[in-house]
């Protein structure tokens, strides 16, 4: 049984703390968490802005952001690749095939997703707060701050959705990172590589490690932010 061999392999990798596994797992976390922080810093205020402010192209902006949630990662990878290539506009920076390039690609992939979910959640909240905040004569910045703070649980869900999309993503980071051993190899690109070699047990083992890590990160963030506890829904 291939699945069983995969579970055994994952188990061995974990209990022996395989050095390569630790390295690529840490790099996966580094790339995705950095991308997540940057993307959240852009996307959450943007989601709030879209909720409180009425402007002409608002509907179009929301529609475009919703559509971009389905961006194929490999297309994003290709665009970032062409931009960062030595013969592209940002070639002088020498960023192609570095973890930074992978972070850039992932930020582009998850910003539309986080904005869309954040906006959806804050829109409901805004309809509750609208009259109160207007009557208090608040500035737009204050309104956005109030929404972001009081909607933080829903925004956490938005960010975690972004994390989920980024951590499991392989198409873009394979193209812009190049899957270089000890440099840009992460869990997902290692899985693709081992599949290509026909080493299904090892590939599955890495896959189970990836799933376990995603669960661990989600749990950790919930514990830190004290959500899902009795009396504090």
């Amino acid at each position: 049984m291939e699945i069983w061999a995969g579970i055994t392999e994952a188990f061995w990798l974990l209990i022996t703390l395989d050095a390569d596994l630790v390295e690529i797992t840490l790099r996966s976390l580094y790339v995705t968490l950095t991308a997540l922080l940057i993307a959240s810093a852009i996307a959450l205020p943007l989601g709030a802005l879209l909720a409180v402010r009425r402007f002409r192209a608002r509907r179009l902006t929301i529609a475009v952001l919703n559509a971009l949630m389905g961006l194929p990662p490999v297309v994003v990878g290709l665009i970032v690749y062409v931009m960062l290539s030595r013969s592209g506009p940002f070639g002088v920076l020498g960023l192609l095939f570095t973890p930074t390039a992978m972070i850039i690609a992932q930020v582009i992939i998850i910003v539309p997703l986080i904005v869309s979910i954040a906006h959806q959640a804050l829109r409901e909240l805004w309809s509750d707060y609208h009259d109160l905040l207007i009557s208090m004569n608040t500035t737009q910045t204050q309104r956005i701050q109030a929404l972001l703070w009081d909607g933080r649980r829903a925004l956490l869900t938005a960010s975690l959705a972004g994390f989920g999309r980024a951590i499991g993503e392989v198409g873009a980071i394979m193209v812009v990172g190049g899957n270089i051993d000890h440099h840009t190899r992460v869990l997902t690109t290692a899985i693709a590589l081992e599949t290509g070699k026909g080493e299904f047990a090892l590939a599955l083992g890495l896959g189970f490690v990836l799933i376990a890590m995603a669960i661990a990160v989600n749990l950790a963030i919930h514990v830190i932010s004290r959500t899902e506890r009795g009396g504090r829904w």
Binding site: L26, R27, L29, Y30, L33, T34, L37, S85, R86, S87, G88, G91, G94, L96, F97, P99, G178, N179, I180, D181, H182, H183, L193, T195, G196, K197, G198, E199, F200, I221, I224
Partner: protein
């Protein structure tokens, strides 16, 4: 909290790199899948201090990376594409390093009877005549180009439901062939190292036309001033040295020699 974790990870990542001299080398999937790179890279680092970062791609993409100046040198196996690369001024010169050979893999019962084939072209004719399922790389790689030239030599146009161009690397194509129980042309090294053989077996090999020459081509610093051409020169000197010769000639998988060193 998130920040502290990040800071810890960043510091561990940063301390590991930056000291060694690094260069980027685009190599073909067949070279990497053979496992030879895992043997050579630590020795290269030990002897020259160069940390070679491998980009494992098809020959087509390797050439593209070299043309754009995104790598410092390429190690590929497709003579025509290499000559075009040099003619375009993207590379300084071409240095032959070693060769291996291509083999035909197929279902172990060998329905198209490739075992009796007189040449590689004859083997392909037998596949076409029996319309046995065949998997082609279809990705513009060196292996794919070789396969196309053999079809031309056999005077057969490969088309029809039996011909499956998968547009993927060697490993992925072998996975597909294992799934379809189909014929496929692969390099010997990738085949021997492949972990998911299924019902497949080696059915034909040995025609001299199947020899597969690997060459090292440094990217031209006149065209791309940022490339690390000094490191590429050092690496080339190592690749044609006696140290490389014995490592390459003695590399065996399951008792079989894979590569023959032939640098001059």
């Amino acid at each position: 909290m998130k920040m502290t974790i990040l800071a810890a990870i960043t510091s561990t990542l940063l301390t590991g790199v930056a000291v060694a001299q690094e260069m980027k080398l685009a190599v073909t999937t067949s070279f990497h899948n053979s496992g030879l790179s895992d043997i050579l890279l630590p020795h290269i680092k030990e002897d020259t201090g160069i940390e070679v970062q491998l980009l494992v791609v098809g020959t087509g993409q390797a050439i593209k990376l070299g043309e754009a100046g995104d790598v410092d040198a390429i190690l590929v196996h497709s003579r025509k594409a290499e000559d075009a690369f040099l003619a375009g001024g993207s590379g300084t010169h071409r240095r032959e390093v070693m060769y291996n050979d291509f083999v035909f893999i197929g279902p172990s019962d060998d329905g198209a009877n490739l075992a009796d084939a007189s040449s590689a072209a004859d083997a392909l004719k037998r596949i076409a005549e029996s319309a046995a399922p065949f998997v082609s790389r279809g990705d513009d790689s060196g292996t794919h180009k070789k396969e196309l030239s053999l079809w031309a030599a056999a005077e057969v146009t490969p088309e029809g439901a039996w011909y499956n161009a998968v547009g993927a690397g060697m490993g992925a194509a072998l996975n597909t062939a294992a799934g379809l129980n189909a014929y496929i042309m692969a390099d010997r090294a990738s085949w021997l190292n492949f972990g998911n053989k299924g019902d497949l077996a080696l059915v034909y090999a040995g025609d001299p036309v199947l020899f597969n020459q690997y060459a090292f081509l440094p990217v031209n610093p006149d065209k791309h001033p940022h490339v690390k051409s000094e490191l590429a020169t050092q690496l080339e000197a190592w690749l044609v040295s006696d140290a490389a010769k014995s490592l390459i000639n003695n590399y065996k998988i399951k008792g079989e020699t894979l590569f023959v060193f032939n640098a001059e």
